[in-house]
């Protein structure tokens, strides 16, 4: 049985959004704990999110 | 993916690159460089002003400290001077006392000496006077005694008796 690629794309999107959601949530926690480091945390958060997003897109287009 | 490659328009890519590179160069020369240098200059100016203010404050504090130090020194000096003056006064007073005492003693001694001399002279005088009185009395006595021959003889005899020939 062949799984349609759209299902794979959906799975990728679910995975990527879970990952980005986790990054965002953890970053919020970190900022709440150390508001003075919010700039650094934001930068790190964006980079990590962007990397996951990149993988997500790459897989999405491969699909 | 395939669709993307098909969609890719080389002409658009070409124009985009051209426009963008041109924009980077043009803006870099005419906009970003002057903006950034102006901003840097302004920031440098603010930093300099702040530095100057901090330096002035520092100097002020230093001045205050040195003032304090000077005051302290002056106070100390005054204390020292007062102390010295007191010591000097004490010394002076002691000296004066001593001198006065010495002088007094000397005067006393002199007075005593004078008194002693006077006394001596007076005694001498008295002695002389007494002697002269005695002589006078003796003379008178002798005169009256020796006016009688017998008595004279008597005397001689006594005297002779007294004389012992050794």
């Amino acid at each position: 049985m062949e799984i349609p690629t759209i299902v794979g794309a959906g799975l990728i999107v679910i995975g990527a959004s879970l990952g980005i959601g986790r990054i965002g949530g953890q970053a919020m926690d970190a900022i709440a704990r150390q508001p003075e480091a919010s700039g650094k945390i934001q930068t790190a958060m964006l980079i990590a999110a962007a990397l996951i997003e990149g993988i997500g897109f790459a897989a999405l287009f491969a699909a | 993916m395939e669709k993307l490659i098909e969609e890719f328009s080389f002409g658009l890519f070409f124009w985009q690159t051209l426009i963008f590179v041109g924009l980077v160069l043009l803006l870099g020369k005419y906009a970003w460089k002057p903006i950034l240098s102006a901003v840097n200059e302004r920031e440098q100016g603010i930093k300099d002003a702040l530095d100057a203010a901090a330096k002035a404050q520092d100097e002020m504090a230093q001045l205050n400290a040195s003032n304090e130090k000077l005051l302290q020194q002056a106070r100390q000096e005054r204390e020292q001077m007062l102390l010295e003056a007191r010591q000097f006064k004490d010394k002076l007073m002691a000296e004066a006392k001593e001198q006065a005492q010495a002088e007094g003693e000397k005067l006393l001694a002199q007075a005593q000496a004078v008194i002693e001399g006077e006394k001596k002279a007076a005694v001498e005088d008295l002695k002389k006077q007494v002697a002269s009185y005695a002589i006078e009395i003796a003379e008178k006595l002798l005169k009256s005694e020796l006016s009688a021959q017998a008595k004279q003889d008597q005397l001689v005899e006594n005297l002779v008796k007294e004389i012992k020939i050794n």
Partner: protein, 361 residues
């Protein structure tokens, strides 16, 4: 502020629920009133909107005779096909007629120009792909015009800002002053932390230009002009190619050392890591390209679909709700426009930072 947020959230949730409900309720009705036809039309319209076009059309309508009328300006078409072929896109009539230039014939199909014969016949292969030859196309398309407009706007804006510094003794005046904090933000919070104090200077022009270029183009895509420039793969490819070139051309020895001969790991790992790292060099700008393109395209698709929904619903409740939703989404897209420009700049500067990292082992 807090109340506003709560109200906003509640409104959004309500809108979504009601829209979904109405959509479910309405869908059977649409099926027998020719809604499917409208849907394909909207789909085609969105598809068309996402693509570049050879003329700057503001809107189009169908007149009483059933003829398409386009309002806008034609743009020059520049082709390289046995010499330079230049003609106005008006000659193509939006794909309705065949244009002729120096004895060559060109037809517009699916937003691309193909070389044809005088009748404009197009031949297809088994997969419905057009097999006609494509001339090298350097046309001044809608996107090129948009980029030129943004370029001119940026030049006048920032030239004005630069001049106002000189004129007012270091304190800018006027409208361009709004952008000074952004310039400072890019310098202090993007360039310096990522690249370092020593090297950031030489990248500032590039970073500032790319930020404002992408931002303004993103914003331009949200205007009624609807030019989807940053949602075009050729444009994002060009931008990320430049980041790739700048990164690798200014890279120092340490950077290449980390790619080909990772210090501090055993020999087999070094051999294993080299191809991975080398792949990473390409993947980094590739992800930049895909990210910007996908975000902008997706934003446009969703926004256009919501606007299209208004016509599909064709009733007071559904249409007004999808209007509200598309309005809210437009505001979100404003944020995305700035965010994507920021991320592009941020990641570019991060890569420049990698290229300039000093050895510290």
């Amino acid at each position: 502020m807090k109340y506003q947020r709560i109200i906003f959230k509640v409104a959004l949730a309500l809108t979504m629920m009601v829209t979904a409900g109405v959509a479910a309720a309405e869908s059977p009705k649409e099926n027998h009133t020719g809604g499917a036809d409208l849907k394909t039309e909207i789909k085609e319209y969105i598809q068309h909107h996402l693509q570049d076009s050879y003329d700057f059309s503001l809107y189009s309508y169908t007149d009483e005779q059933g003829k398409h009328v386009y309002v806008g300006a034609p743009l020059p078409v520049i082709l390289w096909d046995n010499g330079l072929q230049v003609f106005s896109s008006a000659a193509l009539h939006h794909g309705e007629t065949v244009a002729e230039s120096n004895g060559n014939f060109y037809a517009l199909a699916h937003g691309k120009i193909y070389k044809t014969d005088a009748q404009g016949t197009l031949s297809y292969d088994d997969h419905h792909h057009i097999t006609n030859p494509k001339p090298l196309d350097f046309s001044m398309t809608k996107s090129v015009v948009a980029m030129l407009l943004v370029g001119a706007l940026m030049f006048f804006l920032f030239r004005g800002l630069a001049k106002s510094y000189a004129a007012h003794g270091g304190v800018p005046q006027g409208f361009a002053r709004l952008f000074e904090p952004i310039v400072l933000y890019i310098r202090d919070d993007i360039a310096i932390p990522n690249i370092g104090h020593k090297h950031y200077g030489k990248y500032m022009s590039y970073l500032l230009t790319i930020f404002f270029f992408v931002w303004f183009l993103n914003l331009m895509g949200l205007t009624p002009l609807g030019v989807n420039v940053t949602g075009n793969i050729a444009v994002t490819f060009g931008l990320s190619l430049l980041t790739f070139l700048v990164t690798n051309l200014t890279a120092n020895k340490n950077y290449w050392g980390h790619i080909f001969w990772m210090p501090g790991v055993p020999l087999p790992m070094k051999i294993l890591l080299a191809p991975i790292e080398l792949l990473g060099v390409v993947i980094k700008p590739f992800s930049l390209m895909i990210r910007l393109w996908a975000n902008m395209s997706a934003g446009h698709i969703v926004l256009m679909s919501l606007i299209g929904l208004m016509f599909i619903f064709h009733n007071w409740i559904g249409s007004s709700l999808s209007f509200v939703l598309s309005f809210v989404l437009s505001i979100l897209e404003l944020l995305v426009a700035a965010l994507q420009a920021y991320i592009f700049t941020m990641l570019s500067s991060l890569y420049f930072g990698f290229a300039n990292e000093e050895a510290h082992h």
